[in-house]
């Protein structure tokens, strides 16, 4: 078992002929992800790597292949339309890797995708991977191994760091999900925690948050009230100077709300193990498995 993606996941890559899209489509194919189609308007009828059919639209691609998932690597100002196109075409899961999507665009995308009944992960995220089954996005496959820890994170590369250290220590993962660091994203911590709590294969959860906003505090309340499985958490940005933007729009501190200290306290109050360093996840999780 796993969450959101498994060996039945069939994927369409939106932007499959672009620099990032083509590179990561190849990586996903090598990992064993079932990529059944690509979409690039104007390149319909061609093939990617001589095997994956390319379509002009998501609607054509879904009708032809019955895919249930889309992963998006299109430029930022086209990403909102790509997300809505995917949801309208009927896939269940839309994963948007693209960074730099305008937040006003996301105010329209978020309700639209929900109304179409799809789940959105991202934007500005590394996607997800269920080790040994399916990789949808850009998380390097070789740093993962199947196992009992569910991983959810707002960051991309920090997720890799922690997963890499877990794998080196022999602790595998059920599914790793990067939810993205933008102010409006499709799936939040709580939705991932809910799914991990239900997933019989997940025995413990590693959660990586950042300064800014209240998602981590909300997640802590959920852990305290609704979860039986142990959770270990980390907050990046403990040394960040206050009131400055750190790349992710979410990483803005206003007043005392969203500081690392506040988030860590909410973790402790919820019985979440607090990792001071990324490497602390190994010892803290080992003690809880």
């Amino acid at each position: 078992m796993s969450i959101f993606a498994d060996s039945d996941t069939t994927v369409i890559v939106q932007g499959i002929t672009g620099r990032d899209g083509s590179f990561h489509a190849k990586q996903m194919l090598e990992y064993g992800t079932r990529i059944v189609a690509g979409v690039t308007p104007g390149k319909g009828g061609q093939r990617f790597e001589e095997r994956v059919p390319i379509f002009n639209t998501m609607a054509d691609a879904v009708v032809a292949t019955g895919a249930n998932t889309s992963v998006i690597y299109v430029p930022p100002l086209l990403a909102a339309d790509a997300m809505m196109e995917a949801a309208a075409a009927g896939v269940e899961l839309v994963v948007c890797i693209t960074e730099g999507v305008p937040v006003q665009d996301m105010t329209r995308v978020y309700p639209y995708v929900r109304e179409q009944g799809a789940r959105l992960i991202g934007p500005n995220c590394p996607g997800l991977i269920t080790p040994g089954q399916s990789k949808v996005g850009i998380i390097p496959g070789r740093i993962c191994q199947p196992g009992p820890v569910g991983v959810v994170s707002r960051s991309g590369t920090l997720t890799y760091e922690v997963v890499y250290q877990l794998t080196r220590a022999g602790i595998g993962q059920s599914t790793c999900v990067g939810i993205g660091g933008d102010p409006i994203n499709g799936t939040n911590f709580i939705e991932c925690l809910e799914a991990f709590e239900r997933d019989p294969e997940t025995k413990a959860v590693a959660l990586m948050g950042e300064i800014g906003g209240t998602d981590e505090q909300d997640a802590a309340v959920f852990v305290r009230e609704q979860m039986k499985k142990p959770v270990v958490g980390f907050i990046a940005g403990q040394t960040a100077p206050p009131g400055r933007r750190m790349g992710h729009a979410g990483a803005i501190i206003s007043g005392a709300a969203g500081t690392a200290a506040e988030k860590l306290q909410s973790f402790r109050d919820a019985g979440i193990g607090v990792a001071q360093r990324p490497s602390d996840f190994v010892t803290l999780l080992r003690g809880r498995l």
Partner: protein, 383 residues
């Protein structure tokens, strides 16, 4: 990107919001001329990208043109929260009957633009928000329909009992939402929105923050950028497509991804060092980005050691390795460098680095410890 008050007000005027006249001066003489044209009492207002200008002494009344010159000479060059005032706005003084607050932000919680209005406007609005939040009316806007007329009417009547003023305020609420939506803003604010002694509404101050991700759509807004408000290194970084924030420490950090960059800074501190900067080379990498990053960091005289922490996903570590080699062959580094990289194309990257005499580490804790030791003068010693 922050706009100055005078820039925001220009945009407000174009959308029909009543804004008192005003002109910008860069010298006391210009301020005097503007004040003379207006006649009567004027307000001289520092144009800097921070709140609290009034409390810092950056907003002053002047009864005569000569006084305006005098006041402007004191405000120009003033340092407000680390920002030097290069321009002042000169605007006729207005007799104020009441002060209200009107603002629109993107709210993470409701995932919508939220219009906020309060009859208790002015400089203490944050205190009102903290102590009497019921005095602030909040209205999330459904992005499918935009702000509906009845919604702006409702907000307007929350501000004003007088029907004529409420109607004028409803128009301003709609116009301000128009400013917000049409310019890709993440925040617009009128504080205070005043009723003058004559009973008319006017936007006495204006603040706008543009979502950086919208700037490719709005070259006319990008043209309003005031580079004098940013550190030179931050300007250079932005132009090189890097996210950079200068800090006070001595360990220069080059990292990919904001989360890992913050975690790397945290770890530098954990092991007893001080980060010199936050630098995120971003997702899609290119050797040129690394060359630019190294140039910016090496220009900081405080930096005693440079730490690369690269975890390749969408970033290809061979791009980073090529960038390091290219940058250091052009300009050899004068401080030691610690390179930690792993992930996409790692084998190629390690081979490139090895060929040029660099060792690559794979463990984050060890790399950070080594960089801290080098920066604190330990040389070969590892903490």
């Amino acid at each position: 990107m922050n706009l100055h008050e005078y820039q925001a007000k220009d945009i407000f005027r174009r959308f029909g919001i009543p804004v008192p006249p005003g002109e910008v001066a860069s010298t006391p003489e210009e301020a005097e001329q503007i004040a003379r044209r207006y006649g009567g009492t004027v307000v001289v207002k520092a144009q800097v990208h921070t709140g609290g200008r009034g409390k810092a002494g950056g907003v002053k009344l002047a009864k005569t043109a000569a006084e305006a010159r005098d006041v402007a000479s004191r405000i120009l060059g003033m340092n407000i929260k680390g920002l030097v005032v290069a321009k002042v706005l000169v605007t006729p003084a207005v007799d104020i009957a009441t002060e209200a607050y009107l603002g629109i932000i993107i709210d993470r919680e409701s995932k919508r633009a939220v219009v906020m209005a309060s009859a208790a406007g002015g400089i203490d609005i944050e205190e009102v928000a903290a102590t009497a939040p019921e005095k602030i009316v909040k209205l999330p806007v459904d992005p499918r329909y935009g702000l509906l007329p009845f919604e702006s009417t409702r907000l307007a009547f929350a501000l004003y009992g007088d029907p004529r003023q409420a109607k004028a305020a409803a128009a301003i609420v709609r116009q301000l939402y128009g400013v917000f939506a049409a310019n890709g803003a993440s925040l617009v604010e009128i504080n205070p929105l005043v009723v003058t002694a004559g009973g008319e509404l006017a936007a006495l101050d204006g603040k706008m923050v543009i979502d950086d991700n919208e700037l490719d759509r709005h070259p006319e807004l990008e043209a309003l950028r005031d580079k004098s408000e940013e550190a030179a290194s931050e300007v250079a970084a932005r132009e090189a497509n890097l996210t950079f924030i200068k800090l006070d420490g001595n360990v220069g950090c080059v990292v990919n991804g904001a989360g890992l960059a913050m975690a790397t800074m945290d770890l530098v501190k954990y092991y007893g060092g001080q980060p010199a900067n936050f630098l995120d080379i971003g997702g899609s990498s290119s050797p040129q980005k690394v060359i630019n990053a190294l140039r910016i960091i090496a220009a900081d005289p405080n930096v005693r050691a440079i730490l690369f922490n690269i975890f390749g996903g969408i970033t290809r570590t061979d791009d980073v390795a090529n960038g390091i080699v290219a940058a250091t062959s052009q300009n050899p580094l004068t401080v030691p460098v610690v390179i930690r990289l792993t992930g996409t194309n790692e084998e190629i990257a390690v081979a490139i680095l090895k060929e040029h005499g660099y060792a690559a580490m794979t463990d984050m804790d060890e790399a950070v410890k080594r960089a801290v030791a080098l920066a604190t003068g330990g040389g070969s010693k590892v903490a």
